[in-house]
Symmetry: C2
Subunit: 597 residues, 2 copies
């Protein structure tokens, strides 16, 4: 039976020792309550809940899936109970405004908590995860009345929420959406249309579901400029609870590759009553406000599957006896050596470890930026906003790509047994596969990064980050013990800017050059960004080792893993550089009709 | 509904125009019957059977899976009928000796046929595929009596066969196996033990199943030197058919990630009657004789999933409308452009195409070597045997790795829809995942290549192949039109030898250096080998274009795809070189107990 243990030591290393979040919280208005003791207590409680309540339901969720009937959708055994415990523990309200019943703790703490919840059971974590998106939307764009009616219930966790964007003929291209909103005399709207791929669209875990729906007003302009946002509750709110059923229902559940425990719904809106939220025709702009947070939520999924795969394949590699070490028997008293003695098994393990631990630093760093965007001084806020805009597509696409790679490495450690359901490793692969698709595919993130974030700002947002890296390396220039990391990082950081120039120049002649370079550019950016975090983690480890003897093995392992990352993973940039600058012609010149004969 | 269309034009391009198999058959004793007309007719019939009978059962197989009961295993709807048609068509006997009822056609033709059968429905193809292994074993090591009793029934397809190697505690490390064989007075043996992961171990498709079982004699030496091979039939043979049930039964079916249509069985041998095949204690040697063929069969799976993913994602990319081209609308009369206009979608398609078509050339080339090993003059035979030994682990591991990558690209083209079962793309990913595990994992193939095949022969077997590539490039040195391919190929071919020397020198100090370099070395070897075949295909296309105007678009597409491979895929070698020579220390220095805290 696979298991999950929250890596509290490593989480606290990143939070407190590398990123110094304790100081960050004390400097941030409204976050002062997040004292070190409070943070530690929350992490410990979150770990217990994730390990004891959610983790044992992960495989059950996969096996049972969700069941559809005319009456609604039943979630897997135990999911509903776990959600009740989650609500009773006050977890949904953690990072929300006290005005609506929240605990007013920083968003970044919510993300740290989500790491544990999501790694223990990703499918389950999506129910509260989707609520979070709905809450943020109502909090930013809702009226006082809407907040009192819906937001308080979402914050308490009594109700959950969804985001209803996709339609059968449009996913990426939301400008094509057709769901209609026709005005009623009382100021409400009749919403009609079909939405697909609605995660947590229908379930039995809460008394009501609040759908945030993209639809078109009758006189709306075509394309993305004619989309408005509506609140459409499953049950109409009534004094102290819920009243009549609204005209929204789940038509069917999708049969998916993974995340079986989460209900992925076709939602039919049949003149459902809805309420406009935010200004008319500005729905997409309102959505974009929260796209970054949602995408960091998905980036987390990359970390989750890497960490889960790592933990379980490590346990197996220490236990499974097969063959002898190439350098002679390591356990001569046993029938064979444990497979962790084999270099290529260690490579599979270390790759997962480097991505999980590095990804943790990357995500906690962006989480810190989210706090600043919400609560820092206007100047700091603008700086944080620019950095977050740049790092979001990198974190989302890069971490989900390497998360899927890691999940596959975890499976590979098990050999043939990895293909068998009972070990859980193949579920980890299947569950992780969706992360490169939803919230914008890797290809869309890559266009967002190179086209919108980098080239459209004339490289400004990139320079903001490369300057941080450059200054960091310069500040360490006398630190000879760190040179094995800072020297290559400095070189790559410079190359990053040069490659951007090179691609940008080509793009001025031919826009397809942006598309043709984009995924390679994004992956390159990801490897360099992760190298920065690994250098910082190595630096912290080096410092701690110099200061005292405590936790020596932990810090030495950190240095060894940083070395592994720089020597075994970072050279992947060499191939990416060559393909990135190879031009659009090798992709565009083949006639559509000549791909196949 | 996903579809498969046998790529007959491309298959014939590789067979007849690049590798000139027609001439090869005419020069090979016993293969003269494989005239061009005969080959074409077999391919056309095989295509029809694969497209019309097997392809429609592929998704059904995944959905229904195999069902276990006390009475036996039921295969998915239609599987049994399809097998009857396969037998009636005489397909099982294609490449077997006429002495036992075979048609005496070359093995390579059987592999070409298997490409279509396996691409249409991999799970189904494994039933006859496993029989093939059993047939080869009996043909090479069986007595006249065993051949008359078992081989004739397998060749006709009336019975099927299996290979029973793996046990719960040993997969790779067969030296640890425990299944016992105790002699009876009549010369037979009582076989007792449990085998797992037995593909096609029990099913309802044929009257009898002939298990080839690895077991230990009572006085057998420990380890791999004490393993013997036995024939254990499900039913005892009787005049004209089958008699009593033998003491072998399927205890349960594994719940797997994919290939649900194939029964993966736990087989219990309870004093089952078995017959020694080959000399006592030489079972593993006997098995190794056919390992190469079995591994080429698995290499084919890489090609199969790349081709299937390519065909279906290409159709979708031409059909799905989403967003506009970066260079302006291509279909202004439609609501959006088909997604094939986007560079990164084309990259996903071209990557699949380059691996499928290149993989086809690599496999057909090794298939030709198999023919030579069986039927050429002793001198040619030795040369072919050496080449085959080198290329087998490359083809098996490299093609299954890039096949899995390709299957994922196919899914990615579909965006969110790729994650939904009905499109079939996620099944293609799940089905392909096992290919990197069975018949020796990628890691085992890599050790076989670098350790056994290359270093243990002091590089002899590698030199045999690099010399072929070198001569080829030299012969083309005046061909300026081919320089974009032959120049980088020549450089890489030289580097291949140098890297081998470098790793070999290190390995003399520390055997772990072999393991630490092995997977990177194997993947590097795969990319260079595929570059050789792409250069040859480009050369043929160039020639044909110079000769006449017929099929111009086909040959130009071939050149464009070769260019894509050299510019967009081959640069991956740059990262591999850096990591391959980075040494074992970054893998071995972390203490087993310090991977996690």
């Amino acid at each position: 039976m696979p298991e999950y243990k929250a890596p509290l030591r490593d989480m606290s290393f990143v939070l407190n020792e590398v990123l110094e979040l304790n100081a960050h919280y004390q400097n941030l208005p409204g976050c002062e309550e997040a004292t070190p003791d409070m943070v530690a207590a929350i992490m410990e409680e979150g770990a217990k809940f994730s390990e004891r309540v959610l983790s044992p339901l992960n495989q059950i969720g996969d096996q049972q899936g969700c069941q559809w009937s005319e009456e609604g959708v039943t979630t897997p055994e135990g999911f509903r109970d776990a959600y009740q415990q989650f609500v009773e523990g006050g977890w949904p309200s953690l990072a929300h405004d006290p005005e609506w019943g929240g605990q007013g703790l920083p968003e970044s703490l919510g993300i740290v908590l989500n790491e544990m919840v999501g790694t223990a059971n990703w499918s389950w974590s999506m129910y509260p995860g989707l609520s979070h998106g709905a809450m943020n939307t109502i909090e930013a764009h809702g009226t006082q009345d809407q907040k009192e009616t819906y937001l308080t219930k979402l914050v308490s966790g009594e109700w959950t929420g969804t985001m209803c964007l996709t339609e059968p003929h449009c996913g990426t291209d939301l400008g094509m959406l057709r769901t209609k909103a026709e005005p009623n005399d009382d100021g409400s709207y009749r919403i009609s249309g079909t939405k697909i791929f609605i995660s947590a669209g229908e379930h039995d875990m809460a008394d009501n579901i609040v759908h945030i729906v993209l639809a078109r007003l009758p006189d709306a302009p075509e394309g993305t400029k004619g989309i408005s946002l509506f609140i459409v509750p499953k049950f109409m709110p009534a004094a102290g609870g819920v009243g009549d059923r609204n005209g929204v229902s789940c038509g069917s559940l999708e049969h998916k590759m993974g995340i079986h425990g989460n209900s992925t719904c076709v939602m039919n809106f049949d003149e459902a009553t809805g309420y406009l939220i935010g200004p008319p025709n500005k729905g997409l702009n309102c959505m974009f406000t929260f796209m970054n947070t949602a995408r960091i939520g998905t980036a987390l999924q990359g970390l989750a599957h890497a960490e889960w795969g790592f933990q379980n394949s490590l346990a197996y590699a220490k236990d499974r006896l097969q063959m002898r070490s190439l350098t002679g028997a390591k356990c001569p008293d046993k029938a064979a050596d444990p497979i962790i003695v084999h270099p290529e098994v260690r490579k599979l393990l270390l790759t997962q470890k480097a991505f999980a631990e590095g990804g943790r630093a990357m995500i906690y760093y962006t989480a810190q930026l989210v706090d600043k965007v919400h609560q820092a001084s206007p100047e700091e806020r603008a700086e944080a906003d620019g950095l977050l805009a740049l790092l979001t597509p990198i974190a989302k696409a890069f971490l989900t790509e390497v998360g899927f790679e890691s999940a596959n490495h975890g499976l590979q450690v098990f050999g043939g047994h990895g293909y068998i359901a009972e070990w859980g490793m193949e579920q980890n692969v299947r569950d992780s596969r969706i992360s490169m698709l939803y919230e914008g595919t890797t290809q869309i993130q890559a266009l967002d990064l190179l086209g919108r974030k980098v080239l459209m700002t004339q490289g400004e947002s990139l320079k903001r980050f490369t300057k941080i890296i450059h200054k960091y390396c310069q500040a360490q220039s006398d630190n000879t013990g760190l040179k094995e990391f800072t020297d290559p990082l400095l070189t790559l950081n410079k190359e990053w800017g040069e490659l951007t120039m090179q691609v940008g120049m080509k793009a001025m002649q031919n826009r397809d050059e942006v598309g043709a370079a984009s995924v390679d550019y994004l992956m390159y950016s990801g490897y360099v960004t992760l190298a920065y975090f690994w250098a910082r983690m190595a630096e912290t480890a080096q410092q701690k080792l110099a200061e005292s003897d405590s936790d020596k093995a932990f810090y030495e392992a950190k240095l060894t893993t940083a070395r592994f990352y720089f020597q075994r993973i970072l050279p992947r940039t060499r191939g990416l550089v060559a393909t990135m600058v190879s031009g659009a012609d090798n992709l565009m010149s083949l006639d559509d009709e000549h791909f196949q004969f």
